[in-house]
Assembly symmetry: C2
Homo-oligomer: 541 residues x 2
């Protein structure tokens, strides 16, 4: 028991922490790439070419080859004139430097060759743009904060970029119901700050919050750190406005918690990655800001203990549990070796597994006592080997730094093969162990993620990219996930890179139905082509 280091100083850092936790990677997304030069070079070697010359692309896997769909028109001067007429000169962007940035995702992993970015300021302008593009068969890519990880938010070839960042007004906020209505281009962190002043929080929180926009969050059904407490955007988004490919504006911008009048079609636009329509406004239920946040960093001897601890935390911490994250020994090792200033909060020895438990509640002293009592009981029961509760904002930030710094540490360590999987909890870690056996000494396999949501981030780190390693990983990881009825994309979406992998997680009948919905809503296929759906269903012309 004496190992248990609990500080009895009151911890109250909620709103500050929000800002602090974001600073790791959101202030300047592109700058994060300075850690990824090895990756970029290797990626380029694996086949990224210039679209304007050869019009097809390879994306890391030998099986993925995409050709520009000749059904789509190419831009002409009349198009540019029309857009200038409806948007004004300055919102029709042809500047090569700006376009270079807009064509490239924040990891600099995906790069298109669009010659035009449009910046509408109103729903009506989005509607006019789409109506025109549809009639002209001009393909478009809706763009928000461009922080996605699967190549969904940048052009693949010469699609017209529709950037909604100028549509960033907060339209209404109701302090009684906690319902916020805003435009799609609002940056998540700005909404968080706005709500903080009102005494509320957003029900989602992401590392990329400094750049990502609510329209993109909704379009990709972003998950993040608060899902275990507040659930997904399908539960929190109360309404939205979307513009269809033909320019029709669908006003589903309800601000009601309950509304059973016909089909709830807003869900079609949540998570469909801009391929069924462009989300222009969002109404979202926001929880009240609670006054106390506590964070514990714990060690467990095995994965079964982590699992058991989660079950107990759900029951005993129940209503105050707000995050339950885990990482294995190999992840900690990698972070300590590659992340500057990182320090194991439990330094006496290496443990097999680490767990972060955050609670958020309305009573400071009680919440702390509750967490302490729970942790003491968990130690007595042998579920926790060691642990510490953060005593101030700095300590809390350093704990989060371990968990949130894994991606950065991985990039510094060399080449990395990244998988974002949902798996049944009891089976999840088996895959990590199996991959270790398959790969032996050729690569490091690390497992971490949102245990509270059943979301494993499986990463394989090697000195450099290597086809032999890749062949050991894929399709094995996808097949294994599929055999366990898991998801090959828990929260990142399919985008460009996984569009053809959809059958690993969805039945052919379901995918077929998705294709029918796509054809119904976007008969010319102009919205974010080459993405989400497999190639066979994406290019129906």
């Amino acid at each position: 028991m004496e190992k248990w280091r609990i500080t009895h100083r009151l911890l109250r850092y909620s709103s500050n922490l929000l800002v602090d936790r974001s600073s790791n990677c959101s202030a300047s997304p592109i700058s994060a790439f300075r850690f990824a030069s090895d990756y970029r070079e290797n990626f380029v070697k694996r086949g990224l070419r210039n679209a304007s010359s050869i019009q097809y692309r390879f994306f890391g896997s030998v099986a993925t080859e995409i050709q520009r769909n000749t059904w789509f028109s190419t831009l002409n001067l009349d198009d540019i004139s029309y857009f200038k007429e409806i948007l004004g000169e300055k919102n029709v962007i042809q500047d090569p430097d700006v376009l270079l940035d807009a064509n490239t995702d924040w990891m600099r992993k995906y790069k298109g060759s669009s010659k035009l970015m449009l910046q509408p300021r109103t729903t009506s302008e989005v509607s006019q743009i789409l109506k025109y593009c549809n009639s002209r068969r001009l393909a478009v890519v809706p763009q928000g904060g461009k922080t996605g990880l699967v190549g969904g938010s940048v052009p693949v070839f010469d699609e017209v970029i529709i950037n909604v960042g100028s549509m960033n007004n907060i339209i209404a906020f109701d302090k009684v119901s906690g319902i916020l209505v805003c435009e799609a281009g609002c940056i998540l962190e700005n909404l968080i700050s706005f709500l903080d002043d009102q005494g509320f929080i957003m029900p989602l929180d992401l590392g990329a919050k400094g750049s990502c926009q609510i329209g993109g969050n909704v379009s990709t059904n972003a998950g993040g750190l608060r899902l275990v407490r507040y659930g997904s955007l399908h539960g929190n988004v109360l309404g939205l406005e979307a513009v269809l490919a033909n320019g029709d504006v669908i006003d589903m911008l309800g601000t009601l918690r309950k509304d059973n009048t016909g089909y709830d079609l807003k869900h079609l636009f949540i998570g469909s990655e801009g391929s069924l329509g462009i989300v222009t406004k969002v109404s979202i239920l926001t929880p009240p800001k609670l006054s106390s946040v506590n964070l514990a960093f714990l060690a467990c001897k095995d994965y079964f203990s982590c699992q058991k601890l989660l079950l107990e935390a759900k029951r005993k911490l129940g209503e105050v549990l707000s995050a339950f994250e885990f990482l294995d020994k190999q992840t900690m090792d990698l972070v300590l070796n590659h992340l500057e200033g990182a320090r194991n909060p439990l330094p006496s020895s290496m443990h097999n597994f680490y767990v972060l438990i955050e609670t958020t509640g309305s009573d400071e002293s009680y919440d702390r006592e509750k967490l302490e009592a729970f942790l003491l009981r968990s130690m007595e029961d042998g579920l926790v080997s060691d642990g510490v509760i953060a005593q101030d904002i700095n300590q809390a930030s350093s704990f989060w730094r371990i968990r949130e710094g894994v991606a950065e540490a991985l990039m510094k360590a060399g080449a990395v093969y990244k998988y974002d999987l949902s798996l049944p909890l009891e089976k999840m870690y088996d895959l990590v162990e199996e991959m270790r056996i398959r790969l032996g000494q050729t690569a490091k396999v690390i497992g971490y993620g949102h245990l509270g949501d059943g979301n494993l981030h499986l990463n394989i780190s090697a000195p450099q990219y290597n086809d032999a390693i890749f062949a050991q990983i894929e399709p094995y990881v996808y097949e294994w996930t599929s055999n366990h009825r898991g998801s090959i994309s828990a929260e990142h979406g399919l985008g460009l890179v996984k569009a053809n992998k959809i059958y690993y997680s969805k039945s052919p009948e379901t995918v077929h139905l998705m294709g029918s919905i796509k054809k119904l809503l976007d008969p010319n296929g102009i919205l974010n082509p080459y993405k989400v759906l497999p190639h066979s269903l994406n290019s129906y012309h």
Copy 2:
């Protein structure tokens, strides 16, 4: 302060209460109708006729006239033979007594004239039935527990009834994740009992739980008493299996909290009232059962205080708040006059408004102290005029009896015009007051409902049905609701009775898109015809 009656005996009644609260109306739904004979007689007078003779119907409103769609075939002997072949003799029901019951909803308000009920036991059988019916253009009505309030679950004319009650197996339960997978015909109360043994609860709880089935709950996006805490079924249903009109089985039965692989099409089947497919299996996230439940019955001097109290409860009780219900003085008066054994828990004088606050948490003594402290503070602030906390299961049941007995009291009081509305909180009660002014002494207007969800049950009670009263109510109530961007059906759905009223809550473009989705998924329109969508979109043949 001395008015505050708090008992300090520990209250712990969670699982028992679940059973107790259901007993008011779920044991034998049909028997509830013994209170409604006046209503039935009046209803019949207003135009209910026998479909087999004249093939059209009136449903209470002069504007609602429906004719049988002649696009649909009528049953013949070959059909019966085919169904007997695939389902076996005993699952093809033609017995007139059984059919009389199956044709009639539990309020005996809607009555069809189907000559056939099928009882499939497997998804494959549902698939074969639908494939056949689709090819023969035989209209069908999917049927579960038949507890709906808008005529959605019984035939309008001669539709074949597909009753999924025999598909009532629990398929799997994962105690680590709390994810339950079961067939559509499982009765909600049976699932609650099953989970109770496992230490979990269902995220939804309805008065009708003794009869309603999970497939029907999902198909109607049932709301109920726990929505304020656990959110809607769009957030809690993780997956489902549905059979389309053409017999295609769509397996979306995921058991994952996070899965961003393509369009999340399960949402199309949640709340579409069986008109896009028949839900055959459901996977649902269930919360752990928490050990303490507390219930307070409070008085407030005005509606603004109720609203303010809700805001404070969300903030101060935050994570333990599990219900926030309200009723006005007129509702209490009606309950005391018509509900046997009902007693005002705060008998000293009549108050203008009453609020029930329930908390559910994991720590008995703390939760009680927290609620007490909150209520004392609310009295000091003048938000609460008087109040009492239930000291045992009997007292808690008697408090809930007031709130849950309103519908029964209304039926005993005579004719009743019922409206289930979602409205912005700050405007909600204005409608009740406006209706009182409009109706004067001709009828009693009462307001109660799920304040925590913004859901008002507006009811107008009169000695008997009267066209002059009706003309004062409709379309005024719907127009008022529409003007405030409310919902004309918060939780009951549209069914038959409100199908043509959809435009009050949804834009023409949205409804048009619903119609396109309906045509895509059910080109022959055989699934639950005449319901959900307006007549013009329902009869596209």
